[in-house]
């Protein structure tokens, strides 16, 4: 089964970290990505830029509208994702719990639809 681990985090919390803490977090995150790659859980992962840089696109009556993210006010922002392969939901939870940012923010574990 594939699961998408969405990493949610308050921007303020990340900014409140000291340089040292932030470097440590980066190192831990990279280390964990490598571990997941080696253990075969990892399918893909990316860290996302701030939602301040994002736009929202809609098409209504064939017309494209582009606005700032309406999600900018939300408390937690999507900071990144890891798409993993796991035996079941509890294994995915175990993998998600190891993501270093789980200590700062929260990880949403979404099963991927399997149309097989």
């Amino acid at each position: 089964m594939k699961y998408l681990c969405l990493v949610w985090c308050e921007e303020g919390k990340f900014e409140a970290l000291s340089n040292e803490e932030r470097e440590q977090l980066d190192r831990d995150s990279m280390g964990y990505d490598q571990e997941l790659a080696r253990s075969g859980h990892m399918i893909a992962t990316e860290a996302l830029q701030s939602p301040a840089n994002s736009v929202v696109v809609r098409v209504r009556h064939s017309e494209i509208s582009v606005t700032d993210g309406p999600f900018a006010e939300a408390k937690e922002q999507l900071a990144g994702f890891i798409l993993i392969e796991a035996r079941d939901l509890n294994e995915a939870i175990r993998v998600a719990a190891g993501i270093p940012l789980a200590k700062l923010g929260s990880i949403e574990v979404r099963p991927v639809h399997n149309f097989g």
Binding site: Q24, S39, H41, D88, L89, R94
Partner: protein
């Protein structure tokens, strides 16, 4: 090769996990180690061949990878250093100790069934850790959402950690109190093997054999009428395994089975256990069920079955522990004595109380009675209800066949 590794996962992964939990002292760490060990096997075995003792290889590979990983992480986190030290040299001697390994699954059951863990979590955890079902499969079988099952399992594991629930078979003086839940779980493991809750295969022989092995181990620790009744029950039921399916995987009902295919050795042992229990006068819940199975096992032909005696045994069973499932089974026996109308009345009474409405076999039994009563449109409806609730391919095929055979 991948199929071989999958087969070994199916047959060995639970025992490897149980041993890793003992060696690593933590469920999640052990699960990670198990995953790592099989990932390593998928890399190495195609080149080097399957090791002589795959179980020992998987245990030591999983354990080594965990220590390796903790060592890498502990460069940044000093608290992990202590864990790593505790895992290293002292336990080296225990790894190859087969006596310890044989008991590991039993340790795992006693831990999963600890009284501090809620009953629903005990069952979910046992099915996942001991039977190897996935969270999603358990959710499917119990008709509850996967996140609910997942949360129960996570909370139970937290409880094991925070309450310091030991990973051990309790002392002899505590065993009797703890035994009931453990027997229940062993029977659950057996049932999952005897009639898998989902999937394409009705029988998983690895699970029935494991349940029987565990019950024997338990019985060796503590002679207990409940445990010997359960062992008898499992042996008598499993003795029919070869006769329960056709060559093409279709279900064959008890009445139509070729009794020459029944395992005489299992029957002999099961009947001896029943006779010993009856002489001792202590026939418990499992013993009574075993006595019912024994009624079939003693007869060489289906039409020699003493259904009146079976109904009386069901009466005793219902007196000991009322259950709608047992009432349903009794209804089938009553129908064999008094005809399908009597059976139908019992099933309808159960359903009208609001019980077993989601249980496909209740509808299937009802459909069978209606078919025998030649109420074909009603029978068709009941079979369709059963089909909608059934999660298992061979049973679905069986119900579809019954529907197809109904006269228009």
């Amino acid at each position: 090769m991948q199929k071989l590794i999958d087969d070994i996962y199916r047959s060995h992964s639970r025992r490897v996990l149980a041993t890793l939990i003992r060696l690593l002292g933590d469920f999640d760490r052990a699960e990670e180690a198990l995953h790592e060990a099989f990932a390593e096997a998928a890399r190495k075995w195609p080149k080097n061949g399957v090791p002589e003792n795959p179980m020992a290889w998987l245990v030591s590979t999983g354990r080594f990878r965990t220590i390796d990983q903790l060592r890498r992480r502990s460069r940044f986190d000093a608290s992990l250093k202590d864990i790593e030290d505790s895992l290293y040299p002292a336990k080296e001697a225990e790894i190859g100790d087969m006596d310890l390994i044989e008991d590991d699954v039993l340790r795992l059951i006693f831990t999963c069934c600890h009284p501090l863990i809620p009953a629903d979590a005990q069952i979910a955890m046992s099915l996942r850790e001991i039977c190897g079902l996935t969270t999603e499969e358990i959710a499917h079988a119990f008709l509850i959402p996967p996140p609910t099952v997942a949360q129960r399992i996570v909370r139970a594991k937290n409880r094991i950690r925070s309450a310091g629930i030991p990973y051990e078979v309790p002392d002899k003086d505590q065993l009797p109190d703890r035994l009931q839940r453990v027997l229940h779980v062993i029977y659950l493991v057996f049932n999952e093997g005897y009639s898998a809750s989902s999937g394409t295969d009705i029988v998983r022989a690895d699970l029935t054999a494991e349940a029987i092995r565990l019950c024997r181990t338990l019985l060796a620790l503590l002679p207990d009428p409940g445990a010997s009744g359960l062992l008898a029950l499992m042996l008598l039921q499993d003795s029919r395994r070869a006769a329960r399916r056709s060559a093409t995987g279709e279900i064959i009902l008890l009445a139509d089975q070729d009794r020459a295919l029944w395992d005489r050795e299992m029957i002999r042992e099961g009947l001896a256990l029943i006779d010993a229990a009856t002489e001792g006068g202590a026939v418990g819940y499992y013993g009574l069920q075993a006595a019912i199975a024994a009624e079939h096992a003693r007869k060489r032909k289906a039409d020699e079955t003493d259904w009146h005696r079976i109904v009386r045994l069901y009466d005793l069973l219902l007196g000991a522990r009322p259950s709608p499932i047992i009432e349903l089974n009794r209804a089938v026996a009553v129908a064999m004595c008094e005809g399908p109308a009597a059976g139908l009345a019992i099933v309808d009474a159960i359903l009208s109380r609001g019980e077993l409405r989601d249980y496909h076999l209740a509808h299937a039994a009802r459909a069978d009675f209606l078919r025998q009563l030649k109420r074909f449109p009603d029978a068709r409806l009941a079979y369709e209800n059963a089909l909608g609730l059934c999660r298992q391919e061979p049973e679905k095929a069986f119900i579809r066949k019954r529907i197809a055979e109904l006269p228009e």
